[in-house]
């Protein structure tokens, strides 16, 4: 460089040298000092910009050299700033504590099976092991299947609107109802299959009853039907004994009481010894020691005939039991309405049962 030029620019060159050294010596340890560095050197009022301001005061022929040095100084300062910032950010990212893999996992609410479904599943499982298969039918049912083919006389009180929900009444093609029991599934099965028939038919049924703690307008039934040659009531008793022992305990006792249903003959109601008090008498069994669990009987010959099955060759037994009653007793629930309100506060209590 020309000596004259060097002399003329010595002052600003000295400032550039000094600033260069100052930038190099500036210790940046963290974000705060990095920001201090930026404010000191890189902003509009910073030291480098200050030198750029002085460019106009030096002779024009010296400006290219000084301008170039200032540009280099600025680039170096900015480069250091970016480099340190990247280092600090990387260090910060590494400083985030690693996840503790020994911590127990978060427990998620997986939902709970409805108590009615729990009981129903248990019952179905028992009958499946005995060789029964599951049959299903519609909840909106024709009068024929719900009543007529099941040997209900025309004047039977169950056909009254006080007991049954009619969806269509008086139509030429027949009444349509919400099924009042799962027995129509028996009819549908016998009309579509030939014996031997061994089915269970679980499902919802509807009755026009006043809603209270003890009764509801909808509930679940588990229907059973076995039709074959030579089926007797003794077969039914053996089946139900086996079921009751698996469902309610091996020391349970059964009692068959004569009863009447239009679609079975003979008919009976089955009681089991109260599984809460063991038959000694308690509030649940109303101090009788017995709990009614189902209605049953041998399939009425008229019903078999209605389904094109010859009652002189085939016989069968059938039963129907309510699921809710067993559920209420098992879980000591004193209001049937709780089973239908879908209140999560109630249902969540069954999560771990």
């Amino acid at each position: 460089m020309d000596e004259t030029l060097k002399a003329d620019t010595s002052e600003i060159q000295s400032k550039i040298d000094h600033l260069e050294a100052e930038i190099a010596a500036f210790e940046i340890q963290d974000k705060n000092t990095l920001e201090a560095y930026r404010l000191k050197f890189l902003v509009r009022k910073g030291k480098i910009a200050e030198l750029f301001e002085q460019l106009k005061t030096i002779p024009p022929e010296q400006r290219p050299y000084i301008g170039k040095r200032l540009n280099e100084l600025k680039t170096a300062a900015e480069s250091r700033f970016e480099q340190v910032r990247a280092t600090l950010e990387a260090r910060e990212a590494q400083a985030v504590p690693a996840p503790d893999l020994t911590l127990p996992g978060r427990r998620r609410f997986m939902g709970a099976e409805h108590p009615v479904q729990k009981v129903l599943s248990e019952m179905k499982e028992i009958f499946f092991r005995m060789g029964f298969t599951e049959a299903v039918g519609p909840e909106i049912e024709r009068d024929d299947y719900n009543f007529t083919l099941l040997n209900f006389p025309d004047d039977h009180p169950a056909r009254d609107m006080q007991d049954t929900f009619f969806l269509r009444k008086g139509a030429p093609e027949g009444d349509v109802v919400l099924r009042t029991h799962t027995s129509p599934v028996q009819i549908r099965t016998m009309l579509s299959q030939k014996p031997p028939i061994r089915i269970i038919a679980p499902g919802k049924v509807y009755r026009n009853e006043a809603i209270s703690a003890r009764s509801y307008c909808v509930f679940h039934q588990l229907e059973g039907l076995y039709v074959d040659k030579g089926v007797t009531f003794a077969d039914f008793k053996a089946t139900i004994y086996s079921f009751a022992q698996q469902m309610f305990g091996s020391d349970v006792k059964l009692r068959f009481r004569p009863s009447f249903f239009p679609f079975t003959e003979p008919s009976a109601e089955v009681d089991i010894t109260c599984y809460l008090c063991g038959g000694k008498g308690c509030r649940v069994c109303k101090h009788t020691g017995w709990l009614e669990i189902m209605g049953c009987g041998m399939v009425h010959p008229n019903v078999l005939r209605n389904c094109n099955i010859d009652p002189d060759i085939y016989s069968g037994y059938a039963w129907g039991m309510g699921i809710e009653r067993t559920t209420l007793l098992r879980y000591k629930i004193d209001d049937i309405r709780l089973l239908f309100e879908n209140d999560v506060r109630m249902l969540s209590q069954f999560e771990s049962i």
Binding site: L42, R44, A49, L55, K56, R63, G67, K68
Partner: protein
Amino acid sequence: MPDDEFYIREKIRSVIRSIPALTQFQFHDFEFLYDSDEQILHVVFNPEQDADDSVFLEEFGEADGNVLVHTANGIVVGFSILDTQIGRPNPKL
């Protein structure tokens, strides 16, 4: 527009076209201010944005003095020509 402003603007546009770092602004509107005491012409492309940095240009095209380009967040917002006659009002007009 006074005649001399017309000529000044044309000259500034000519300078902008001749400097690679500024050619992107050749069709851009600008404001200018000539500092007679310092003999510096300031050209502003974005009057609402203050510059936060300057770069000394080694190549200054048709400018008759050194050029400092001003940036804000790395984007050019204006430039200055040092020791220039460009922008000086013509006393004859």
